[in-house]
Amino acid sequence: MKSAVTTVLTVADAASRFPSISDIEAVKGSLDRASARMEAAEKLAAGIDKVTTDAVDAVYGKGSYEQTNKDKCARDIHHYLRLINYCLVTGGTGPLDEWGIAGMREVIRVQLLPTAAYVEAFTHIRDRVCVPRDMSPQAAAEFKSLLDYLINALA
């Protein structure tokens, strides 16, 4: 699992050397941002159901749709938000890459689903993040950059 620390250690191990001062500085640098990331992860975990419902409602609008379809959409959005929560904790895009994005295109295409709907949902979530009501500016920046990463992968 790729994270700030494991990336550094993988490189050090490939060269079979001990962690150097620059390795340690790199770890320290990523940990300096950790409190903002953890704040975002905590707030997201607390409001994940509300955020999901909100996004699904925004995508479907007022029209009448089958509830089962809406539920499946909500399930997927919840899944991606959970992976973003994990990415916020590890400080890298490892969880999204390994569990969310790898193979995603193929699965979505084979089910004839429109990725545009997901893009719209995550764009809606990104634009709705309110500073400082929801989280601090640094935490919001970390959260939004991961949402952008996911939107780019879906687009």
């Binding site: 700030a4 620390v5 494991t6 150097s20 320290k28 905590e42 975990a45 607390a46 959970r82 590890t90």
Partner: protein, 182 residues
């Protein structure tokens, strides 16, 4: 390879739940103690050859037959292999300590180590003794309870007494090595 953060992610994923306040408490502690952890890692990296050489020398002193013809550390080529292995184990312990998780040590160093040593005819009891001495020396250097001068320069000017908890964690990684070889 996992660290404290990705370990939390893997166990949360098994439950299918996001990581909430409870799980974050441990990780916040990791972040709060990061400076001590870095100093403790430096205590190892700055004294690698000293720790490994002392451990192997200690092991040989307790079993002087090892450097005699027919012993496992005779000729010097085999003694050198022994020193090299001591440094490799220390290296993986330092990775595990920095990561705050033992998976790198387990996967890349300990998995199959006992079988390898058995196949090569390395006496396990002596290897275990060398690891024990490395553990004692490392903890003493980290906590500044060694006799003589202070043996490492931390970048955070932390004193060794503050590294006690982290030193206990380092000792637990050495214990994993000993368990793997037993």
């Amino acid at each position: 390879m996992l660290d404290a953060f990705s370990r939390a992610v893997v166990s949360a994923d098994a439950k299918g739940a996001p990581i909430g306040t409870e799980d974050l408490a441990n990780l916040r502690k990791y972040v709060a103690d990061a400076n001590k952890r870095i100093d403790a890692t430096l205590a190892i990296t700055q004294n690698v050859s000293c720790i490994a050489a002392d451990a192997v020398a200690g092991m040989v002193c307790e079993n002087t037959g090892m450097t005699q013809p027919g012993g496992n550390c005779y000729p010097t080529r085999r003694m050198a292999a022994c020193l090299r292995d001591g440094e490799i184990i220390l290296r993986y312990v330092s990775y595990a300590l920095l990561a705050g998780d033992s998976s790198v040590l387990d996967d890349r160093c300990l998995n199959g180590l006992k079988e390898t040593y058995q196949a090569l005819g390395v006496p396990l009891s002596n290897a275990i003794r060398a690891v024990e001495i490395m553990k004692i020396a490392t903890v003493a250097i980290m906590t500044e309870t060694n006799t003589g001068r202070k043996m490492f320069e931390g970048i955070n000017s932390g004193s060794g007494a503050q590294c006690k908890e982290i030193a206990a964690e380092a000792a637990s990684y050495f214990d994993r090595v000993i368990t793997a070889l037993s």
